[in-house]
């Protein structure tokens, strides 16, 4: 079994008249947390959306677990065991927290059919989900919504979690809780691809890193080496970790 769970090979993506990705090459090793860094507009979100089939790659290949999934529909890609948390969290505001979770638990038709052991594990990671179980998701705070979004992504076992900027707009205390939760998910063997602009977050969690600029991956390698090379960080990100 290859150590690479997800690979993007020379992926180009156009959105209308705009050519956003210019041949992205990215590898996400199995069981690791890969961070996708880059300045605003570098193409990070487009890379995630192209992987999920939300925007179709116009050229190149997306390979998941050895299978070419280029051009597949989003539901079919999700059915492979890939969970996606978008930048806006994708919470269904008019539904309760329970209903949001039930939607993500595809095998359950009613809340009582959800895997209780798994649910208790999720509650232990994200206590707010249990606390506000019957409350409208739209009334949660930003941090609670982010916890719900990630909890929803892991309510059933997934091969890969793709998460877009989970720390955006969150208070430092909540970011620390989120870091702890991701550390536990990583320890449980979940492969994670994370877009993040919070450098503290990136440094604490990343195993491998890929840096994007102008629609391409311009650097990739171990996070530890990248974190120790301030000159490289300055040249790629314009600031040091």
């Amino acid at each position: 079994m290859s150590n690479t769970l997800l690979a993007l090979e020379g992926v180009h993506t156009h959105i209308g008249a705009y050519h956003i990705l210019h041949g992205v090459d990215l590898q996400v090793p199995r069981g690791q947390l890969t961070l996708l860094l880059g300045r605003n507009g570098a193409g990070k979100t487009t890379t995630l959306r192209s992987t999920m089939g939300l925007w179709r790659a116009s050229k190149g290949r997306v390979v998941f677990a050895g299978q070419d999934i280029t051009g597949w529909s989003t539901p079919r890609i999700a059915g492979l065991g890939i969970a996606y948390v978008p930048e806006n969290m994708g919470i269904f505001a008019d539904l309760t927290v329970k209903e949001n979770m039930l939607l993500a638990a595809r095998s359950a038709r009613h809340a009582r059919q959800m895997d209780d052991t798994r649910l208790q594990w999720v509650f232990s990671l994200f206590p707010a989900v249990e606390k506000f179980w019957n409350h409208p998701a739209g009334k949660l705070s930003g941090g609670q919504k982010q916890m719900l979004a990630v909890a929803r992504a892991v309510i059933e076992p997934r091969e890969l979690l793709i998460i877009d900027e989970p720390s955006k707009g969150l208070a430092p205390a909540i970011i620390n809780n989120m870091i702890d939760a991701f550390a536990q998910l990583k320890a449980a063997g979940v492969t994670i691809l994370l877009v993040e602009q919070n450098l503290h977050f990136a440094k604490r969690l990343g195993d491998t890193v890929a840096v994007m600029d102008d629609g391409r991956v311009v650097h990739s390698g171990p996070m530890a080496a990248f974190a120790g090379d301030e000159e490289l960080q300055q040249s790629l990100l314009g600031l040091a970790l």
Binding site: L54, F92, L103, H135, P136
Partner: protein
């Protein structure tokens, strides 16, 4: 932080009725008009409920919805014509069996035609509003012409079954029996929709899809299949509404769908895209307004509903209970 009920829109219906009482003057006339308005509103709700979900779920502007209304009504003329012995009977149960048979057949035919309409007309223009408007209006015109080919271009009477004719006295007022049946059927449809949307996973998916269909797909659900199902159910409900409307008017014409279309869109806009609860309130308001102004200022009947819509949008620009954010 419990789920809060936004109760203000609920007060609009009794407020409109209360406002009309001094203007109408006679309480018995007011009661008759109010029941007529509620019955008309319930029929419009049955027709509009499916369309608002189609609108909310896939952002599809289906201006051809009216053809399913006409189709349902014409199917009813054939079914009830073939059950003349049953409709002429003095026994209520035989009349109701005939009416419910006509409703079921009309729903089945309208639902099946709805599936074909979605596949051939709507699917090629997903995401293209202008083309949706043009092609669905074209679809309605073709549908009307096909109805003329099958049933003829002339107006066809759709007489009320024997036991549903006449009125029940209530004080000084008289309440037509059929209007009570229309209110009852409307309530059953609303209850069935509310139960499905709130208590089943399919309903949950529809509600979620109306809010954010991309996220529903990211969770692994094929929203287009869901949409096809909703479209077929919406068409079937329009067919049911067509039977109810045809019996209400006691005659049917191929253009009846286009005539009702304006009211349906007013209802959906008042109610808020994607909201069945909003559609119910909008439909009751439109039904009451049409009957009150039809009595007080007949020349302003249609204008009054447009004025009502404008007033509601000035208060709540997204409608009373918006779900879909467009």
């Amino acid at each position: 932080m419990q789920r809060d009920l936004d109760w203000k829109p609920l007060l609009l219906v009794p407020a409109l009725a209360a406002l009309a009482l001094p203007l109408v003057g006679s309480s018995s006339t007011w009661l008759t008009l109010t029941v007529a308005g509620l019955a008309m509103g319930m029929i419009i709700f049955i027709i509009a409920s499916g369309l608002t979900l189609v609108f909310g779920l896939m952002d599809v502007l289906n201006f051809g919805h009216g053809v399913f209304i006409a189709l349902g009504a014409f199917v009813a003329t054939s079914v009830l014509g073939g059950m003349a012995d049953w409709t002429a009977s003095e026994q209520v149960w035989r009349n109701l069996v005939a009416v419910f048979t006509a409703m079921l057949v009309a729903m089945a035919v309208a639902g099946a035609v709805g599936l074909a309409f979605e596949r051939c007309i709507v699917r090629p223009v997903y995401g293209q509003h202008l083309k949706q408007i043009l092609i669905t209006m074209g679809g309605m015109i073709i549908g009307e012409e096909l109805i003329k080919v099958i049933w003829g271009p002339q107006q066809i009477p759709l007489p009320m079954p024997q036991a549903l004719r006449g009125a029940l006295p209530l004080g000084d007022a008289s309440i037509e029996k059929y209007r009570l049946l229309a209110v009852a059927v409307g309530l059953v449809v609303f209850a069935a929709l509310a139960w499905t949307l709130s208590r089943t996973k399919i309903g949950l998916l529809v509600r979620a899809g109306v809010q954010d269909r991309e996220m529903v797909e990211s969770l692994g659900y094929r929203i287009r299949r869901l949409f096809v199902g909703v479209f077929a159910v919406g068409s079937a409900l329009a067919g049911l509404g067509g039977v109810m409307w045809g019996l209400y008017q006691q005659n049917v014409v191929p253009q009846m769908g286009a005539q009702v279309n304006v009211l349906i869109f007013i209802v959906i806009i008042i109610g808020g895209l994607g909201s069945t609860g909003g559609a119910l309130i909008g439909a009751l308001l439109v039904g009451l307004m049409a009957n009150y102004t039809g009595f007080l200022l007949p020349k302003l009947a249609l204008f009054s509903n447009i004025a009502l819509m404008v007033a509601i949008l000035l208060w709540r620009p997204q409608g009373v209970y918006p779900v879909a954010q467009r």
